[in-house]
Amino acid sequence: MGAHMAGYFCTCELTLVSKLESLKEISPWLKKAWDQYKLPDCRRFDLSVCLYEAVANIIMYAYERPMGQRILVALKVRDNLVEITVEDDGRPFNPLDHPETSPPSSICDATIGGHGIAIIRRLSDRLDYERRASHNIFTITHCLIKSSDNPKDYDKTSDGN
């Protein structure tokens, strides 16, 4: 786990190699951070899915020639907020510019790809994007506790990949 930063309750960092096998590292890393800082489990699944989708997008689309590029992930917790920042040096891509998808009306209309950003949008509370020094910096923010949280909707056996 990384060093603490001023103003944040905790900061954890993960460096991933840009290849599909790296996706398996996400859930154990997130669980370790969750357990270490005793964060409420009810948000972990949503955040795990968002992070997985964001990193998978980078691995599959950010690089014309994947050659072991690095993807940096940082988790920061402050008050009731958890922020996940994903940084890569691939081609510029602002997820916030990605058009909203509408649900299919029939199986004929159902598209096989293109749902990752929609899932991130719906499962997060705030998204920020910045292109800085040839890097994409994408931040996904979740409120740890929401008044709408229903414990019945949370299953402890679902803990990510």
């Binding site: 899915v49 004929c108 159902a110 790809g113 949370y154 803990d159």
Partner: protein, 113 residues
Amino acid sequence: MNINIQSVRNNELTVVTLTGSLDVSGAIEIEAEIRRVANIRTDIAVDLSGVTFISSQGARVLIIMCKAAAEKNRMLYLTGPKPQVRKVLGIMGIDKIMPIYDTVEEVGFPQRQ
């Protein structure tokens, strides 16, 4: 293996049981079996009760199976997804195009729609 797939044919219904993580790697691991099942000429019930994680790339195998079933005028049902998995299916609109039941038993003797 992060995911396991078992399929059992019972007259007019083939029950496909997925267990584990239905993500990019999981989808790749089960692709061959998914394509085999997709060619079966029965209705299909996909039991998701053992699926602990789902991503958009993983869920695409459900769309592939459903499209194949529709081409044969067959139905594809989903059963038993955990609440978080069901939420992801809802975001993708999959719950609008595939009937979702709590258990495989509830699918019973499906009626063609």
